[in-house]
């Protein structure tokens, strides 16, 4: 098994996720793209764990999964609230973040 395989796969997924984060307008879609990124990272972690076979990689992957779950929960809740307040979840319409 070539070591590069997993890493390259991870890189591709990561880039696709990045594109999604930048390009998408719908908050839910952005969250999905973030999931892609996280999974890309996980694949790398597992791959490295496999290379110098150690359990830490797997443990980190599990941490990431857990945190991702939490993040999705909170994120969707926020999306929900935003939606209630302004009947839209289009990100480019919420620009209060500008200074």
């Amino acid at each position: 098994m070539y070591a590069a395989n997993f890493l390259l796969l991870g890189a591709v997924l990561f880039s696709i996720g990045v594109f999604g984060v930048i390009a998408r307008r719908n908050a839910v879609m952005v969250l999905m793209s973030i999931e892609l990124i996280l999974n890309a990272v996980n694949i790398n972690l597992i791959a490295f764990a496999l290379m110098n076979d150690s359990a830490e990689g797997h443990v980190f992957a599990l941490y990431v999964i857990a945190v991702a779950a939490a993040e999705v929960g909170v994120g969707l809740a926020m999306v929900l609230m935003i939606y209630r307040n302004r009947r839209s979840i289009a990100l480019d319409e919420l620009s209060e973040m500008r200074g």
């Binding site: 098994m1 070539y2 070591a3 590069a4 395989n5 997993f6 890493l7 390259l8 796969l9 890189a11 997924l13 990561f14 880039s15 696709i16 996720g17 990045v18 594109f19 999604g20 930048i22 390009a23 998408r24 307008r25 719908n26 839910v28 879609m29 969250l31 999905m32 793209s33 892609l36 999974n39 996980n42 597992i46 764990a49 496999l50 290379m51 076979d53 359990a55 797997h58 443990v59 992957a61 599990l62 941490y63 999964i65 857990a66 945190v67 991702a68 779950a69 939490a70 993040e71 999705v72 929960g73 909170v74 969707l76 809740a77 926020m78 999306v79 929900l80 609230m81 979840i89 480019d92």
Partner: protein, 173 residues
């Protein structure tokens, strides 16, 4: 390369990997390109499943299983709920992308190029030898409950906080 294939590389495993990988990449592309939110979610399921499969290929059963359970079990359901509750139109939607979405392509491409360059540069054709047996779950638990204990607890608090926060945010009053 051919020599390597002959000797150390398990061809079947590679083939499996490539098939799944192709499927995942396609799925991922659909996730970020489709016009329909629900379809995007379903394509995401495909990708996550593929990731789980890759974990199995990489001899990480436990992670694979938890991936399936957490993501496909929980996260995706959350997503679908989110979609429903925000009344995103189930059908195709015209403006899922920003006006300036084009900038994403060069950025992502550049990023990919750099990573690929670095990876090829470093692990050009280094071979992972097959692990004798899959990572025993006991090993994981050892790590979790010894040096990984504090992060483990912290993590559980994070989850708790997230749950409460989610409820607080989403509560209708």
């Amino acid at each position: 390369m051919s020599a390597l294939l002959a000797s150390e590389v398990n061809v079947a495993q590679n083939v499996g990997f490539y098939i799944i990988a192709a499927l995942m990449v396609y799925g991922a592309l659909r996730v970020v390109s489709t016009r329909n939110v629900v379809h995007a979610a379903l394509w995401l399921v495909v990708v996550l499943g593929g990731v789980a499969a890759q974990y199995i290929l990489a001899a990480a059963e436990f992670v694979a299983v938890s991936q399936v359970m957490v993501y496909i079990g929980a996260v995706m359901v959350l997503f679908l709920f989110g979609i429903m509750l925000t009344r995103a139109t189930i059908g195709a939607e015209s403006d899922l992308n920003n006006r300036g979405w084009g900038i994403g392509i060069p950025v992502a491409a550049l990023l990919l190029a750099v990573m690929v360059w670095a990876i090829i540069d470093e692990f050009g054709s280094s071979i992972i030898e097959e692990p004798a047996q899959p990572m025993p779950t006991t090993a994981l638990s050892d790590v979790f409950l010894r040096e990984g204990l504090v992060p483990f607890l912290a993590l559980s608090f994070v989850l708790l906080a997230a749950a409460i926060g989610a409820i607080v945010l989403a509560r209708k009053d």
